[in-house]
């Protein structure tokens, strides 16, 4: 077992840390799903969480915007600092937090509304003016490469779009509330290779402005898209741990831990 907390990536000494998870433990009832998990997410970079099924990647991710609150009898301890403020603090305004930390889910989940209404939902909720909403809808759809494909059918149901388009629409919907961080939970696992590629290209564009954390079971994807990678594994008590964290290049080419190397080279998992 590691005694150190996961080491900070050293590529950039004065790097801005956007999200800083420190010694996070997580429980479903009596079952501990995460043990002493730490992760320093650098601003405007892509951080990937990889590891075998059930190692707590998604659990860890959902703590960052308190989505775990929706599951009854769960409990998180430790700290997750967003710009220095602990989001696990009971006083945290969860609504505000989720506007800063958006989320893209495993399966595209557009609302059964029109394309326009999907993207406009967040801004509308924030009470923005009609013209500002129109602008942000257009901008978000452009940012996700959807504008040219859908500008003539904004009032049509979002459910008629293809899976890949739906997922990009969901991304546009998340961007429209102008978050700072975007959490992605295996965003391409339900998509075909071409749609997957579109999402990955988008991520490269988006990281200029947003901090991205992505959970993926696909190691090639992690190595293609991410700047930093955290490798997670279940320990003997079936709780997830962060085994190794560092620049993606190091994790994939010069892992320090033999368990990381075993996983990367496909010896298990």
């Amino acid at each position: 077992m590691q005694t150190e907390i996961a080491p900070r990536p050293v590529a950039d000494a004065d790097a801005e840390i956007k999200l800083d998870a420190r010694h996070v433990n997580f429980f479903y009832g009596d079952f501990q799903a995460l043990e002493d998990a730490s992760l320093a997410v650098q601003a405007r970079r892509i951080t990937a969480l990889i590891g075998p099924s059930g190692c707590g990647k998604t659990t860890f991710l959902r703590i960052f915007n308190r989505m775990h609150d929706l599951t009854p009898s769960t409990r998180a301890t430790g700290e997750v600092l967003l710009d220095g403020h602990n989001v696990l603090d009971p006083d945290t305004d969860v609504i505000q937090l989720r506007r800063q930390v958006g989320m893209l889910f495993q399966r595209p989940n557009p609302f059964p509304k029109s394309i326009y209404d999907n993207v406009a939902y967040g801004p509308h909720m924030l009470g923005w003016s009609k013209s500002r909403i129109n602008d942000i809808v257009e901008q978000s759809l452009k940012d996700t490469g959807l504008w040219d494909e859908v500008q003539n059918r904004l009032r049509r149901s979002a459910l008629n779009l293809s899976g890949g388009q739906q997922q990009r629409l969901c991304l546009a919907r998340a961007l429209a509330v102008e978050p700072q961080v975007i959490l992605m939970d295996e965003p391409a696992s339900a998509l075909d290779p071409i749609a997957t590629l579109r999402i990955e290209e988008l991520m490269q564009d988006l990281k200029k402005r947003y901090t991205i954390v992505i959970v993926t079971h696909n190691m090639q994807q992690a190595s293609r898209v991410s700047d930093f990678t955290a490798f997670m594994l279940m320990n003997q008590r079936r709780a997830g741990e962060v085994i190794e964290f560092g620049p993606t290049d190091d994790i994939f080419n010069r892992p320090k831990e033999s368990r990381t190397e075993d996983y990367i080279t496909g010896r298990f998992g």
Binding site: M103, F105, N109, F111, Y121, G122
Partner: protein, 279 residues
């Protein structure tokens, strides 16, 4: 017989058995419908059936205007009471009812579903008729509303439960408060199921007779004051079918046909609506 032949034989046999079961289920319904149409259509086409009040017994002619207005008004008022309350309870059960209170409400609703419909009549009689000392349309509406309530709330709950959790999460992850997610995302997504449930409950209430017997009581005069006794199609069927006069018996058949048509069109309307919003 070789194996494939056995398989083909079994396949045919089972298919035939299923077809037989379908027929056994469908034939009574079709016969009933046919019977009501054949017996009721002449009365329905009689001049004045829709526009005249009933004539005194033994006097030929007359219509069921009193009952048409009565059924529409009684069921209408019952729906105004039951649909909003039932839908709200359904929303509560689905979104906030994973607890003892929710279980209690579900249990009570299941008990209500199983009650004989005349018991709802007794409820309307006790609560409204006895306290106002008067038979009235509104007492019938109250009885029917309670009868409709469990159907609506259960239909609403199951419709909302069918809305994927992922949609709720999508809304919450955007920073929407949970009440907004419920009102703006979950309920609209389930609207088809909610409307279907409400229309089925309305259709069922429209056909009920027992709850009306000692609440609306019946009225041969065209009456639209909800505080007065009122006729209803189901009551017309019940009373006229027992009368010795041929023209009144014909009228009962016609009223039954009209009721079937009303209920059927409510059903078809519900289905068309659902298909339209699910396109």
């Amino acid at each position: 017989m070789s194996r494939p032949l056995v398989r083909i034989f079994l396949d045919r046999l089972v298919a035939a058995l299923i077809a037989l079961c379908v027929m056994v289920a469908a034939i009574p319904v079709l016969v009933l419908l046919l019977f009501v149409v054949i017996k009721g259509l002449p009365g329905l086409l009689t001049p004045g059936f829709f526009t005249d009040p009933p004539h005194p017994q033994g006097v030929p002619g007359g219509g069921v205007l009193n009952a048409i207005i009565g059924t529409l008004e009684i069921v209408g008022m019952a729906s105004l009471l039951a649909v909003p309350i039932g839908a709200l309870i359904g929303v509560f059960l689905s979104e906030y009812g994973r607890n003892r209170l929710g279980d209690t409400v579900r249990f009570i609703s299941d008990v209500l579903t199983g009650l004989p419909s005349i018991a709802f009549g007794i409820f309307g009689y006790t609560v409204v008729v006895l306290t106002t000392h008067h038979f009235s349309a509104i007492s019938a509406s109250v009885a029917l509303a309670v009868l409709m309530l469990p159907v609506i709330l259960r239909a609403t709950e199951s419709a909302l439960m069918l809305v994927p959790q992922a949609l709720r999460e999508a809304g919450l992850a955007l920073g929407a408060p949970s009440w907004r997610v419920t009102v703006e995302i979950v309920v609209p997504a389930a609207l088809g199921g909610i409307v279907t449930g409400a229309l089925l409950a309305i259709a069922r209430a429209a056909g009920e007779t027992a709850p009306l017997l000692f609440t609306a009581f019946g009225n041969e005069i065209v009456q639209s004051n909800p505080l007065q006794p009122m006729g209803a199609l189901a009551l017309t069927v019940f009373r006229n079918a027992l009368s010795p006069y041929q023209n009144l018996q014909d009228q009962a058949w016609a009223a039954a046909l009209l009721l079937v048509l009303l209920v059927a069109s409510a059903n078809i309307l519900a289905r068309l609506y659902v298909r339209r919003i699910q396109r």
